[in-house]
Symmetry: C2
Subunit: 216 residues, 2 copies
């Protein structure tokens, strides 16, 4: 994928800036399951997703987790370069959910470009604002939405992402996406099953009544 | 307060940019309780707090609320100018918690300056990153922390802000800060009272054992 595809303000960069960005970006691969960034220890750089899927999550001191957002082709992951901005004071984990190909831009070099280029700095601002919005949306979900609705929504989204009614997900894994305990997920899935909305097998959730799930 | 006090990169602006910023900033006052910004309807501009205290909160469709962060003298409120960035997709409410004096910078004029000045754009980035961090911190609290600990922490923080052990706060108001129901607050405060940590009167919470609250 061309670098220009990631930066809508590409034409507003100088020729030198475009060349620099092209030279410093290196192509990398990550296998599904690989952890690319873990908290404040790492400062890998910006990840420009070419193919595959990344997941950003927040971990509790006790090892619980919740999915903060996902990144798809054409998305830029900024928080894997959080050392670029000293005001970012939180730790997230970024892992590949599918085999992923991405361009990696070193944080110090990108920061130097942002310091020169107002269009690049403003675009970085837009990216951060959009991740911020996703976190605020999640916050609203967690604060005000009932867990049955969040679970139904999660199953429908997973089904759309996988293009299948059959989801290979353990209850543990679902709990880690939604930031709750496994028992809570199991209890709710059994209720969904009793209502005919899903069919449960070991490590598998099959959606059997999408309309009813959507109605929730 | 001088504008330069709000912008540590003031020296990196051109003379013209400094003059523009000085000309477009107007001084405003808000009385305690006044709502300055409500969701996406408004786009007041940047608020540079000179004195007083602002509170940013998130509202649920059912009217519940939670405090997202507070702004004190020398802080810049960016989200009251959210129209500046199309990627900001969430609605918050900003109100004055105390009588507040601030400088108001119109969003379109500030946006024009950011488009010219990389230092200003990068500094705006830092401000957003720091609000983002506060929201992530809150998210961690809400997700992983027990409610008794959050309430104890809130009471201690309020006491520090007011410089007093006597807090004039209804249970309803506390619930709106912490994003929960009034009954939940009442139940927990009564438990705190039975443990000798607070003394309750109508509309008043008196901290009677700080050490015990801090230990939580």
């Amino acid at each position: 994928m061309e670098l220009a595809a990631f930066f809508p303000m590409w034409d507003q960069l100088t020729e030198t800036q475009r060349q620099t960005l092209t030279q410093i970006a290196v192509r990398r691969q990550a296998q599904a399951g690989a952890v690319l960034h873990r908290g404040s220890d790492d400062c890998l750089g910006l990840l420009l997703v070419e193919s595959g899927q990344l997941r950003a999550s927040l971990l509790s001191p006790e090892g619980r987790e919740i999915t903060i957002y996902r990144l798809f082709p054409r998305d830029i992951c900024l928080l894997s370069a959080s050392c670029m901005m000293r005001s970012i004071q939180f730790d997230i984990t970024i892992e590949a959910e599918k085999d992923t190909q991405f361009l990696l831009v070193p944080p110090d070099r990108f920061q130097a470009l942002m310091a020169q280029s107002a269009p690049l700095a403003n675009y970085t601002n837009e990216i951060m604002a959009s991740r911020f919005s996703e976190v605020m949306w999640l916050m609203e979900q967690v604060m005000w939405k009932r867990f049955d609705q969040r679970l139904a929504q999660f199953l429908l989204e997973e089904s759309a992402l996988e293009g299948s009614q059959t989801l290979y997900l353990t209850h543990e894994k679902i709990a880690n996406h939604l930031g709750t305990a496994r028992e809570v997920v199991t209890r709710m899935l059994r209720y969904f099953q009793s209502e005919g909305m899903v069919q449960l097998r070991r490590g598998v959730v099959e959606l059997t009544d999408r309309a009813k799930l959507e109605a929730m």
